[in-house]
Symmetry: C2
Subunit: 364 residues, 2 copies
């Protein structure tokens, strides 16, 4: 099957770029002795998780129990659920995963720890737990100091749980720029204090797990950090470019669309909108812009409805006809993948792989 045989809209992956992205991150983690536990939320495909493991990943990260269930097929020896799982139904499902699988969960409350402990004890299972620390984003995570010690103590005390370290997500570092240097330094100091404090209280911190896309390749500058959980790096997207973490040539995923209307002057309509790309805005951009048109970067994909993409072609100096196909790099590839039943892996113009997005829409 060739690229030209694909009906649209379709999410296509340039395999060469993807493989380069995978190798780059594996090499980086190895060079700095960082544990690599890729977040599978970006691709949602066990076969791609397998590739990450084959390149040296120590395990995988997921956000939902439903994703963990699907990712068992990757053959990973272990899984980190980087989300506080609340409610017995989900926790029982978690504890029913393959008993050979080492499970870790990050959580930020005694309620979550107690619920996990009850389910683990009932299932006769031991679960590793990372205490989630808020390092500046203000989303989940306890404040370092007394709250963190109290949480570690609760985890340590509860049956079926083993305190394994800390997790954090520095989502407040938005760009790879001058300011990031200072923010990373402050992050290092905060972690040193938090870890020292825990260790003095008698809780050895084996795993220090964190990082975010913009400053991923500077993770080694944060002294005690020993594990990264990147997701987006496998494909990258326009946000990754916009935050300075990669070049447009490093974007492996694009949405292939067809021009369905040219009735309005200076504009073309493509057969993909919010149901195909998601309506996630481009980070750090005041003007809405929903995808990067590789072949004509002057085109502005500034508006969308569910099934219609509006592309302003005024500045492109060219025209398109109904039936022409157009590839666009999405703003946020993780949510775009979640909208597609399958993705197509291209080697040049040949469709070499068709992967079902098996963990798509696993909300629970």
């Amino acid at each position: 099957m060739q690229l030209s045989d694909l009906d649209t809209p379709a999410l296509v992956i340039d395999l060469e770029i993807m493989e380069r992205n995978l190798a780059r991150m594996a090499d980086y983690a190895a060079a700095h002795a960082l544990r690599l536990r890729p977040h599978t939320k970006t691709h949602k495909i066990p076969a791609l998780a397998r590739r990450q493991l084959d390149l040296g990943a120590v395990g995988l990260t997921v956000a939902k129990v439903g994703e963990a269930e699907v990712m068992q097929a990757s053959g990973s020896p272990e899984l980190l659920v980087a989300y506080p799982i609340i409610g017995r139904t989900k926790l029982d499902r978690l504890c029913k995963l393959n008993p050979a699988l080492e499970l870790t969960e990050s959580l930020d409350s005694e309620v979550a720890a107690k619920q996990l402990s009850d389910a683990a004890a009932a299932a006769g299972r031991t679960i590793q737990v990372l205490a989630e620390v808020d390092v500046g984003l203000g989303r989940v995570g306890v404040t370092p100091g007394e709250s963190l010690r109290t949480l570690a103590e609760a985890i340590n005390r509860l049956p079926g749980l083993q305190f394994a370290g800390i997790a954090f997500y520095p989502g407040h570092i938005k760009r790879m720029d001058e300011e990031a240097t200072g923010l990373l330094r402050r992050l290092g100091t905060l972690l040193d204090q938090a870890i020292g404090d825990l260790e003095r209280a008698g809780f050895p911190v084996r795993i220090v797990s964190g990082g975010s896309t913009p400053t991923l390749l500077r993770s080694h500058e944060v002294s005690r950090l020993n594990e990264i959980r990147p997701g987006t790096y496998i494909f990258n997207d326009w946000n990754t470019v916009a935050c300075g973490a990669c070049a447009i040539e490093d974007c492996a995923a694009a949405v292939l669309t067809t021009v369905v209307s040219t009735s309005v002057q200076d504009q073309i309509i493509i057969d993909g909108g919010s149901k195909t790309f998601s309506s996630d805005r481009l980070q750090g951009s005041a003007e809405p812009s929903f995808g990067y048109l590789q072949a004509s970067p002057e085109a502005v994909f500034g508006k969308m409805n569910e099934e219609h993409g509006f592309i302003d072609i005024r500045e492109t100096g060219r025209t398109w006809s109904v039936g022409d196909k157009i590839r666009l790099i999405p703003n946020h590839v993780c949510v775009a993948v979640n909208l597609h039943e399958q993705v197509y892996g291209l080697r040049g113009d040949t469709v070499e792989e068709i992967w079902r997005v098996e963990a798509r829409g696993k909300l629970q």
Copy 2:
């Protein structure tokens, strides 16, 4: 099964409100002798399409061939594909639908008409065609006058096609307000001229199909309009309230979530973000706001990531605990439904129906 048994996040439908919404629109259409061809993109569920037909809908509207395939199960005598279908693969699938089904397509180019004609002729099928007219939104649709006459002529000439009338979408009328009165009047004048022009050229206009949510219940004021294709009315959403077309009490659909973290002061985190609600903004609102918390309207759902909803509770005067469940009305219910594998129909606190979202993610 009771509401309290549902795991989260889950999309729940208040059946009493939904039934009231369905009846109101059916009554309105009947009172004004308007053909009602509901757009199924909102619910994506054949069983709900069946209810619309049982209440007097003449047929159904879809946007994609994949949706048409699924909606055959509703038993509708006819389907309108309100989207220009480009490419032989999709058109062959369209023509392979149950031969007893009367098919209509709206389109805005001779290329689309020619492609449809080729596929219809090859399949020995006659397809009704509506010429799509741009009435001010600037999305798809030809300009009334010469372009429209030329398109009607092409449709009329091509084998396998029957010119049935015109379609339009007045998406430029954003609110039910004073300004809308003038815009509706201008729309009526524009349609009168376009139709008169077509009829003088020898193309009888049987169907005049259009309307949009904000001014739906004023469709009868537009003199020649004889068909409406509403979608959102079955559930309504926060956008419908925001544009003045319904009250919050008319919103049947909500996302049931669980509080998973209360670590940050004045804020709670719920287990639903852009993967559950979609990242569609609230129309006409400068500040981001992603859902309406019925039990505490002062709460501000102002930020989200894929799996995290950030709710600012400062102005609510109350607190929540990890494990508490919260119902929120989404901004845009159509895209939210598309993210869920199933929806739950509630009668009071009893789960009376579980519907699979069968046309979910039909991108092609």
